[in-house]
């Protein structure tokens, strides 16, 4: 069920899009990636505005790639809203109903329902050109949802709005999507939006999906260096795996790095069922579940906020990795502070709660929990 995208290929002279994933029934899947990675092309392929060169699209078990765009029953919210300027709010929302020949009575009821859903009751007769950006976006959402689409596509729907409005509206989009349970694919390049909104996030790069997983796992257990560094901030260290150790809750490994030997806890869970129905070969998504062999060169990865400076605790647990260095820069950000530390020629960033004072001598010792460290093959 949901939307299955199988073996879709679209080849341009300087770009190649290859897609194989699914949007599960009722979930909100985020398509996240830098500009030019093919997110919007993916959306337009699914909507039917572009034809693919090969592969199939199926919704609820039926192929839709053979259908023209206007027969696919997919609702779309565009970046520029694309409200019809010659129609008022009511007729914009009612456009799809009219195309599906709903009776006037049913139409009216449905339009009222949707205006209520997007909290714009009483707007029915307004001109769409007189609405604010946020209101236009809600109407665009209502219009896309009115004819009960099987799938909802949103193409960077909040990018034209200012930051404050964006935060409010994304909560609202989340609420509406949950309430209706409509299968949704949401394109954005805003990581915060992706993390807040997504049931799952698909990270795209150069025409293919690098990882598709829950926000927590994409953030904490990135499939590769690209995903790890694209989403959030990261500390990277070159290293070499020197030992494997057994552990009660998974495998442990010791990695030699310029700042000392670090212990890494490797989660023992089975290869996570990111796509249980799709053990597609050649997908890089799960490579991080296999611990590299002893002796291999690796890149050590951990997040700035996983570094803790706690004088009481430091040294107590033998499993925590302690790193000492010199503070070279501090960036005060209100609720927290970023501290740049130089240790053995390596620059590392610490994201600390700002209440925690640093010692006065300009050096700092911090620790990173072994389970918060990821290893990627190669340097």
């Amino acid at each position: 069920m949901g939307l299955q995208i199988r073996g879709i290929e679209k080849i341009y002279p300087d770009f190649r899009l290859e897609l194989d994933f699914q949007v599960r029934q009722g979930e909100l899947l985020i398509l996240l990636g830098p500009s030019g990675c093919g997110k919007t092309t993916t959306l337009r392929l699914i909507a039917g505005f572009i034809d693919s060169d090969s592969g199939t699209l199926a919704m609820d078990g039926h192929r839709i790639d053979t259908l023209a765009a206007h027969r696919r029953r997919i609702g779309i919210v565009f970046q520029d809203y694309a409200l019809f300027p010659h129609l008022n709010v009511r007729d914009n929302i009612g456009f799809g109903l009219r195309m599906q020949r709903w009776s006037p009575g049913d139409s009216r009821r449905r339009i009222e329902e949707l205006l209520h859903l997007v909290s714009l009751e009483g707007y029915a007769k307004r001109k769409v050109t007189r609405l604010s950006g946020g209101e236009q976006q809600r109407i665009a959402l209502a219009r896309a949802l009115a004819p009960q689409p099987r799938l909802l596509l949103l193409d960077e729907p909040l990018s034209a709005l200012d930051a404050k409005l964006r935060k409010g509206l994304r909560i609202e989009i989340r609420r509406i999507q949950r309430e209706l349970g409509v299968t949704t694919l949401y394109v954005t390049h805003d990581q915060e939006e992706a993390l807040v909104l997504g049931d799952r996030i698909a990270v795209m790069r150069e025409g293919h999906i690098e990882q598709i997983d829950t926000p927590e796992r994409v953030y904490n257990r990135p499939a590769n260096l690209f995903v790890g560094t694209f989403l959030g901030q990261a500390n990277l260290l070159p290293g070499r795996l020197v030992r494997r150790l057994g552990s009660s809750d998974g495998q442990m490994a010791a990695v030699e790095t310029p700042v000392g030997t670090l212990r890494v806890r490797w989660p023992d869970e089975p290869v996570e069922a990111a796509m249980p129905d799709m053990p597609a070969p050649g997908q890089p998504a799960h490579s991080h579940h296999a611990l590299p062999a002893v002796g291999r060169e690796v890149t050590v990865f951990f997040r700035p906020e996983h570094c803790s400076v706690d004088p009481q605790e430091s040294g107590k647990t033998c499993s925590s990795n302690r790193i000492s260095g010199r503070v070279v820069r501090k960036e005060y950000l209100g609720s927290h502070q970023l501290v740049e530390v130089e240790a053995q020629g390596e620059h590392l960033t610490l994201d600390l709660a700002q209440q925690k004072p640093l010692s006065g001598d300009g050096t700092v010792t911090f620790s990173v929990d072994p389970s918060n460290i990821c290893l990627f093959p190669g340097r």
């Binding site: 909507a47 039917g48 505005f49 023209a68 765009a69 206007h70 027969r71 696919r72 029953r73 997919i74 609702g75 779309i76 565009f78 970046q79 520029d80 694309a82 409200l83 019809f84 300027p85 010659h86 129609l87 456009f95 799809g96 009219r98 195309m99 599906q100 665009a140 219009r143 896309a144 004819p147």
Partner: protein
Amino acid sequence: MLFVLLLAPAAFLLLFFYFPLGSVLVGGLTDRSGRFSLGIITSLLGDPYYLRIIGFTVWQAILSTLLSVLMGLPGAYLLARYDFRGKRLIQALTTVPFVLPSIIVVLGFVRFFGNNGILNRFLMSLLGLSEPPLRILYSLRAILLAHAFYNFPVVVRIVSSLWRRIHPSTEEAARSLGAHGLRLFWRVTLPQILPALLSAAALVFIFCLLSFAIVLVLGGGPRYTTLEVEVYRLAKVSLDLKTGSALALVGAVISLLFLYAYIKLQQRSSFAERMTEEVERPRLGSMLGSLRGVVYLLYLLFMALVILAPMITVVAYSFQLRSGWGQQAISLEWYRRILSGGPYLRAVANSLFFACMTMLLSLPLGTVLAYVGARSRFAGGRVVEAVMMLPIGISSIILGLGYLKAYQQLPWRIVGSWYAIVFAHTVIAYPFVIRVASATFRKIKSSLTEAASSLGAGPWRLFWYLELPLARSALITGAAFAFGISVGEINASLMLYNERLITIPVMVYRLIGSYNFIGACAMGSVLMLFCFLAFLIIDRAGGEVG
């Protein structure tokens, strides 16, 4: 879907444009026995009489264009750089040449500059002369003045619309670097407005090249004859369709060459569209203390007067009782005569009928072609567009000639029927519908059509529920244009009319010919009323012109 749409317009154009045009082509390129021959054309081009006509045609067009540019440039500057009360009105007035029939300009000109016209009578009573001091009519001077007065608003309109969008910061930068006055204009301003200036000049040039009524009446003789007038004379007076066809071909080649240049220039001018920022403009009202402000104001007044003068003259004169001077009484005599029936009322009824039919035909024709042109992505789209736009470059005299030639052998008598005139008017009018409509169709954002399509609208319903309503005001403008063009059209009408099919402009022309100026002015006023209605609609609907 696009190809299906194309069928009807293509058939219409084939039958009522390309077939008559082809018969002119055949007529000009065959000898008397019907074999292919360049004989007639080469003998035309060797004949000093025709060579002089060709030369004069181009020469008067060049001079008229220069004069129009000189008159229009200051106006373009003022409209682009200053704000003043009545600016909206002046801007609206620059639309006038597009809707004012040339026969009105002719009439107004004769009444204003004629030996017995307002100017001469005023000078005679002022200076106590017994002879009119200014003899302007029936000369190159008259043709040039009339062309310039008629066409300089075109220059104002096109150039100011670009000039307005050029940010003054480039000029300010140049000034801070030491440029000023003429050098500033020559080095900085002119290069920026040049695309619009060239494109306006080319358009005016084509208008003047193909100008017919003005040359026919105000030239008034073989010395001041252009190709158009000579083709008309050959066809209607000498009844020599063969020589007429050959000469028409020569004319068509010349005008198409310049049309091609015009289109090329238009494409070049598009670079300025990025500069859309609105800037604060100084108000002219606050400059009236300075000499410069006064000069500017005088120019604007002059401009309004020149545009309005022929119209005012015609209307004012239509209320006089009798031609001649001395006895001036206001009278509605001529309007009574028009309304009482007879040929005058028939001309009015005919004109209205033709105009409505032309509107009904050219609107769907132009809309469909514009739509196909805007939406088609195949490589042949441009060719199709060119084929559809060709009628712009073919003068209506040639079209009329084609109708006379093409349909004379057919059993189905087209010439002499009302639809010949309506079809000819449609061919003349629909490119204007295309112009306004295709600009609008192209402006429709793809996200709008995609949104509609995702909501379940197939191609037909997409057109019907989205694209057509969005193009509504452009289509109203196009319809008003078609109406205005048909109602004021004289060239093809003069070629194709008979007593039963007489139109207002033809009637005006004949009344001028018989020196019945009050009657001509009364009919002219009725004509202007219709044109004014069309103008109002165009102005309100706000479609782009020119």
